[in-house]
Symmetry: C2
Subunit: 439 residues, 2 copies
């Protein structure tokens, strides 16, 4: 498919790439929950027992029978006999009978007979029986009449009616036994790790990290550890792309720098496609290298080149193909283009390989554009943009587009994110509110 004869829209190109990838990574491994952050679950995770396992108070107060408080109010308190205190972390032998109550702390186990907790704030100790709690308090805390009383203090005035279940987390109210708590294809974050710990699930099955082969091509490209000779440049893309891949949960595998010859590139691509789940060929940037990449993708086997040129800037000369069952992406040699295409296409492809949902919201920062940006209607532009803090708190962030030649890596390093100019627009006007996607 000759380059640029038919430029696809970015959305169409992405669809072609993702539909060619049939979530091929089925391998999974077991990891410690504590080390599972950012990994993707390979199976539904099921609660082995209810959570909580017993009814717990969600406040500090008194465990009561709700019916004993019906009709209670500031002017007509209900009087309950205090029979003791529920201690934390152990089963209580207290049994709340009619007209009785017990001190309970947040998280305490509801004693038998009780069906509600009345908050400390809605009670009052009967003054004649007042006796401060002997437990140590922080300095400066005055002994108050709203501290919990100790057992034997006899009588509590309840100043508000309490419904059955009020201020109680019932057994199984967080999750029921056997319920799926984390679906397959979920990226693990801190709340999931907390939930797994709560259930005692200390290892989980996660998707193996997809291996992404990286090949750099071009006669002028040398390893960054090397001092480039005249006409030579260091390999920027292999390092920048590897960082992007690691960040998104992939495992970069380097296949070195290959000269701009079909056979050398075909050999490297064949090895990379065999050993990896996806292959990135970051071209030298000349037209002949792009042609070599397309030719190599064709030679890897059907279906070969699927997309050759995208109506996007930067990144137009991008190639998507599929060979030996693996997605092969031909990236522009220009490091800014290569990274922008990485953010917009390689990252979603990696997420798809991991089994993450295709429709994921993209967070952005709203800001006021400080300069007008031209663009060509019909083409989608992505502009490196710096976010500048508001002059006063509460004001808007400012979006400063970074001008200058689009292929300078440090213009991207100076950017907080990318600003999309949609294909239907003829540019964006200074002063518009825009959404910048952090990179």
């Amino acid at each position: 498919m000759p380059e640029f004869l038919k430029l696809l829209s970015p959305d169409d190109a992405r669809k072609v790439l993702l539909s060619a990838i049939a979530s091929t990574i089925v391998k999974y491994e077991s990891v410690d929950t504590a080390a599972s952050h950012h990994r993707v679950t390979a199976a539904d995770i099921v609660a082995p027992h209810p959570l909580p396992e017993f009814a717990r108070s969600s406040v500090d107060g008194y465990a009561v029978r709700a019916e004993d408080t019906y009709g209670a109010g500031d002017s007509a308190p209900a009087y309950l006999r205090l029979i003791g205190e529920v201690r934390m972390g152990r089963e209580t032998e207290l049994r709340i009978g009619s007209g009785e109550c017990a001190v309970i702390h947040t998280g305490g186990m509801l004693p038998e007979g009780a069906n509600a907790v009345v908050m400390l704030e809605h009670t009052q100790a009967v003054a004649s029986h007042y006796e401060p709690d002997p437990r140590p308090r922080s300095p400066g805390v005055p002994p108050g009449d709203r501290q919990p009383l100790s057992a034997g203090d006899a009588e509590i005035e309840v100043l508000r009616a309490t419904a059955v279940g009020e201020n109680v987390i019932g057994a199984g109210e967080d999750v029921g036994e056997g319920r799926v708590v984390i679906r397959r294809g979920t990226r693990i974050r801190a709340p999931e790790i907390g939930g797994l710990a709560a259930l005692g699930i200390m290892t989980i099955p996660v998707k193996c990290q997809p291996k992404v082969g990286i090949i750099s091509s071009g006669d002028e490209v040398v390893d960054p550890h090397q001092r480039p000779g005249p006409g030579q440049v260091r390999d920027v893309n292999a390092y920048a792309l590897a960082s992007l891949i690691s960040e998104c949960g992939g495992q970069p595998v380097h296949f070195g720098i290959v000269p701009d010859e079909t056979m050398a590139l075909l050999n490297a691509a064949t090895t990379a496609a065999r050993e990896c789940d996806m292959v990135l060929i970051s071209g030298g940037s000349s037209a002949s290298v792009r042609d070599t990449t397309a030719e190599v993708i064709q030679k890897l086997g059907p279906p070969g080149v699927l997309v050759h040129g995208i109506n996007i800037r930067p990144g137009k000369p991008t190639i998507f193909g599929f060979g030996q069952g693996k997605a092969i992406v031909g990236l522009p040699g220009n490091p800014v283009s290569a990274l922008v295409i990485g953010y917009l296409f390689v990252v979603p492809a990696l997420q798809h390989l991991l089994g993450l949902p295709l429709d994921q919201p993209v967070p952005s920062v709203r800001a006021r554009l400080t300069a007008s940006l031209p663009s060509q209607a019909g083409r989608e532009d992505w502009w490196p943009t710096r976010l500048v803090a508001p002059l006063e708190s509460g004001q808007e962030w400012r979006a400063e587009p970074i001008f200058g030649k689009s292929n300078l890596i440090f213009s991207l390093a100076a950017a907080s994110g990318l600003l999309r100019i949609p294909p239907e627009a003829n540019g964006l006007a200074s002063g518009e509110i825009v959404e910048v996607q952090p990179i």
Copy 2:
């Protein structure tokens, strides 16, 4: 300072916490650039040489003297004699004289005498001399009259005037020698790694990861590997907080579960404050544990407790203090509250310890709220919210608040992010456009 006598606003509480932390982490280490992703630079990084080191073409075309093309147009082309081809990755011996040009590829080194490049698209080979480039092309690419010619092809028609420097990246145009390319206190991302590789800077000084001590307190709390007895619960917070800290570039250090006794907690906190840069004490959730935490923070030494209670939900019973030169944060035992406070206060504190700028934009997802949310004026609420994909592409995302008791860890695990209800609001109305901050 007694709890809740004076609730601080979240913004004021954050200011107190951050201003007590004087960016105490001065230690740094050297890491391989390839492994520096997400680390924070400990010093300004300076370009050891200009980038690029030589003038390069940014297109495929012909290296020319711009003055030879002045006045050229479709109807009045300039004719230039082709004297050869600039090969990639080596110094060329070609010297462009008046009326001459040479084939040059994207990234090629501008030959002596040339000061501009005219794009292939704006040239035409003189037909009588046409000779196709013998290099291999991808299948299906027709031999065209706009392919670059080989040396000896004699004459090129230039159809457009070219300015000095056009399509050329001058030596040092990306960065000049000695310029600061990455400022101290920058979080390293893929573009920075690319830029460092371009300059051959293969190790960089980064801040050491701040050590964050985690203490869990409460008589009812047991290690998650253990089967809880009656009235006991597993330690959720230590695991969830450790995950959050790792994610933000900190190093969690566990100091175990401590019973709700002042001396035990003081011993653990003293050790943690000595060994770490910040200490989190995640309380059991009862009032007495909160009191113990405040007392221990006072006993660690001045200034002691600085914030005791924040006008926020969840997370009101949060304590910020400072002792032995370290920030000590008393988190609520409720795991949802602890994590929300973690996102809103511990993460900024960690970023400050790392030397990152205090004013950082917060990315969010705009979505339409699917239900009305109540809130209490004067208090800032953060509501766990699920983002639901639009029914049709191009439509809005929907923000579904997660109802139910606020202290259930799986309600947070079900959320895509947190939705802020500002203190000046009395709630949010169904159908409003809101901004959800991903967690």
